[in-house]
């Protein structure tokens, strides 16, 4: 047809110019990036890391497959299907079987319930939340300890994605799973190949509250308060770790604030130096704590009387545990424990003691205080956890969000630690004096605690993905320097065992696609429509004979026209 058009005599040149203009416009338009997905969802990729060279986590990031939803027919080929699994109805054994049998998947999209992000109202939900919590932590442990050769993403349930899921399910129920020939939904994540994060750094932050140097003494003893602030979880972009160890960080900041008020006046300045340390690398055997301790000189290390490490102190009811690595009969340990349990009694809570010997040959460091013990500094860890977590366990994963943290628990923890430290510093043990009494000028500030807890619960803090001057690190540094002196940052690199890959979050585009058969049928329908139209027009305007002639001798018409 185009040839016939171009042959159009006088209008030929005009048509030619129109064609060139059209071509130009088409080229311009073709350069426009297509971003017209019906639904775009924020998704968070499962962590990808190597542990001593062995690959773990999701090894791919790019996704371009059709969506499918459980239940599947046994033996169905899912290698080109993105399986959408709502965690709420997740059958963990199904997933476990799938993973252990190493069956290929096109991809996995896990839908997290909104409950874990927002505080759920109503009492009857709390049981569900508890179930969900254990399910999520099991899922997390399952996913981070296997090598999955396909992309795995997390997304929060919302109306859009639930509608898609319902539609996919309906499609699966009526017919065979969606493939290119039956339409359905296509899930696309276009993201570059994940790259190994080059030399991830960990940053320790420390601050001092120097004590009052009296006459005769040259060096004061030091008490260290330490909390590890970074997290690790299945989805690095969701690992906010409100309880582990956001609660510890908040408690440390508040303790620093309280003591800075006491230490600001020479009358109430104690005869102890206080050292505050926010350490990184907690999930990786407290690697940052180790480097931090190594950077101390011998004299400083020896001057530390004891160190209190705060770990997960935000969601306990009545019982906290003091974890130690020297036997409880040890005189220093006994002294610390007694001072804690005395205050605990007054607060109406109990503090238990747990002794776990350290094995120098074992690289696993379960508690932060063990790093201190390894350099022969007396140290304890205060935690709500009664047993030592395994590697990469209880490090602020998926379920560890703001709503599981109880502010009053943090208050009590802060009071417990601050009070027992103050009694030790000012020598008031055994006397019933409340230094940080409620409603006094030295009371724990609930809004301060809340605002810091909220900030930490919004900020994923997986150390390899935090830059050296990440906003959260700057914020912690600034906050610590408001209350303490000589604040300084120590940048270290994580020891070789771990290496991480980037692209932790992406945008998932969900397209509703038509099948190829549909387009083929459409083409057929259109072709017959145009042929019918052509025949109709020829018959009405020129008569039937012309139409027949046209098929008999095609060139005759051209000859006539010329």
């Amino acid at each position: 047809m185009a040839g016939r058009w171009r042959g159009g005599g006088g209008g030929g040149e005009v048509v030619g110019s129109i064609y060139s203009v059209l071509a130009l416009v088409l080229i311009l338009v073709a350069c426009v990036e297509l971003g017209d997905a019906a639904t775009a969802v924020d998704v968070y990729r499962l962590i990808q890391y190597d542990l001593s060279g062995a690959p773990y986590g999701s090894r791919l990031a790019g996704l371009n497959h059709h969506a499918g939803a459980a239940p599947f027919a046994p033996g169905a080929d899912l290698s080109r299907t993105v399986v959408i699994l709502p965690v709420r109805e997740l059958n963990l054994t199904f997933l476990q079987e799938y993973i252990t049998s190493k069956q290929p998947l096109g991809g996995l999209l896990l839908l997290l319930p909104q409950d874990i992000r927002h505080k759920s109202a109503g009492g009857n939900k709390s049981r569900n939340v508890g179930l969900l919590r254990s399910l999520l932590s099991e899922l997390e442990q399952l996913l981070i300890h296997v090598n999955l050769p396909y992309p795995v993403y997390f997304a929060y349930e919302d109306d859009k994605i639930n509608a898609v899921l319902a539609d996919v399910r309906r499609g699966d129920a009526t017919g065979q799973p969606a493939t290119a020939t039956t339409g359905g939904y296509k899930l696309v994540v276009s993201t570059p190949e994940p790259r190994k994060a080059s030399s991830p750094t960990i940053t320790n932050i420390q601050g001092w509250l120097p004590g009052l140097v009296g006459d005769g003494t040259t060096q004061l003893p030091t008490i260290a308060v330490v909390a590890s602030y970074d997290t690790f979880g299945a989805a690095p972009a969701l690992s906010v770790g409100s309880d582990s160890n956001g609660s510890g960080v908040v408690a440390l900041l508040e303790i620093a604030r309280l003591f800075s008020r006491l230490y600001s006046s020479p009358k109430t300045r104690g005869r102890y130096n206080l050292l505050f340390g926010l350490t990184s690398g907690g999930p990786y055997n407290y690697n940052g704590t180790m480097k931090w301790l190594r950077s101390f000189d011998q004299r400083l290390r020896e001057s530390i009387e004891y160190a209190v490490c705060l770990n997960s102190v935000g969601s306990w009811n009545n019982e906290l545990w003091l974890h130690v690595s020297k036997p409880p009969e040890n005189v220093y340990i006994k002294q610390v424990y007694e001072s804690f349990s005395e205050v605990a009694n007054e607060l109406g809570v109990t503090v238990g003691i747990k002794h776990k010997k350290i094995n120098i040959s074992n690289p696993r460091v379960a508690w932060e205080h063990e790093q201190f013990s390894r350099v022969r500094v007396t140290a304890v860890t205060l935690s709500e956890l009664s047993v030592a977590p395994e590697l990469l366990q209880s490090t602020g994963g998926l379920y560890d969000t703001r709503h599981i943290v109880d502010e009053t628990a943090i208050h009590r923890s802060i009071k417990l630690v601050a009070e027992s430290l103050a009694r030790h510093i000012y020598g008031c043990e055994g006397k019933n004096i409340q230094i940080f009494a409620d409603n006094s000028s030295l009371a724990v500030n609930p809004s301060y605690v809340k605002s810091w807890l909220d900030l930490l619960s919004r900020t994923p803090r997986v150390a390899p993905f935090l830059s050296k001057n990440d906003p959260i690190i700057s914020a912690l540094k600034k906050e610590l320097s408001d209350h303490t002196d000589e604040v300084h940052l120590q940048h270290e690199s994580i020891d070789g065992m771990f290496s991480f890959y980037d692209s932790t979050q992406a945008t998932l585009n969900i397209y509703q696609v038509a099948s190829v058969t549909f387009d083929l049928l459409l083409l057929l329908a259109l072709g017959s429509y145009l042929i019918l139209l052509f025949s109709f027009l020829v018959i009405t305007t020129r008569g039937l004979d012309d139409l027949i002639n046209m098929f008999r001798r095609p060139p005759s018409r051209k000859a006539k026209a010329a």
Binding site: G11, D36, K186, L533, L537
Partner: protein
């Protein structure tokens, strides 16, 4: 697959114009020049229309139907008729019969309209992965539009080019032309004020254009008779 879909929609949108040109005697009498000129007139008319719209209309904050604005829009829509008048009467065509002239003008007019309004959305939208019925409807709409423009051009040629037409038919011709010219406003009213869904709107457009085409055809035939 998506390029395939784009191809399908493009066939639906632009195919009928080409088929019309090649199937009717238009191709035999080589009226492409007339069509191209009509298309250029359409471009000019659209430019004028755009300037008028930009001058006189407020930017709507929402998608609601404002009767006053729509009336204004319909009035501006009549610029189309003026453009068509110009294309039919003022352009110096090669010596072609009135019969072919209005067809060529209507075809060029409709084709330019399709290219201008539908090609870019089609190119951007139909190649995407996402499937919607939108572009198929748009193609059907283009078909209806072709029929509508041809009818309007036919009535225009009756009004302005034919001198000896039966007096009784003149008011009917003008009424029909009026209806045809306001058709875009009517569909816009249906779509926006009554909230009709695209399938319904497109079906209405198709049905109304076919009815109007039939009426115009009858009128044209009635005017043809005495001259024979």
């Amino acid at each position: 697959m998506t390029v395939f879909h784009f191809f399908n929609c493009a066939i639906l949108t632009f195919g009928p114009h080409a088929v019309y040109y090649s199937a009717t005697p238009l191709s035999e009498y080589d009226t492409i020049g007339t069509s191209v000129k009509a298309a250029i007139v359409y471009l000019g008319t659209t430019l004028v229309k755009l300037i008028c719209l930009a001058t006189f209309l407020k930017v709507p904050e929402n998608d609601s139907f404002d009767p006053y604005q729509e009336l204004l829009k319909a009035l501006i829509g009549f610029i189309d008729v003026a453009g068509l008048y110009f294309a039919l009467t003022q352009l110096i065509h090669r010596n072609i019969s009135q019969n072919h002239k209005f067809q060529a003008v209507g075809l060029g007019w409709a084709f330019a309209d399709s290219v201008l309004h539908r090609l870019a959305p089609l190119w951007v939208g139909a190649r995407g992965l996402e499937f919607t019925w939108e572009y198929i409807f748009q193609g059907i709409e283009a078909n209806a539009n072709l029929v509508l423009n041809l009818s309007l051009a036919a009535l225009g040629s009756l009004m302005w080019l034919r001198k000896n037409k039966p007096k009784t038919l003149i008011p009917i011709i003008y009424a029909c032309a009026g209806v045809l010219a306001t058709m875009p406003s009517i569909t816009s009213y249906l779509r926006r004020a009554l909230g009709w869904h695209p399938p319904k709107v497109v079906a209405f457009e198709l049905a109304s254009s076919l009815v109007m085409a039939f009426i115009s055809w009858q009128l044209f035939a009635a005017c043809q008779r005495p001259s024979i």
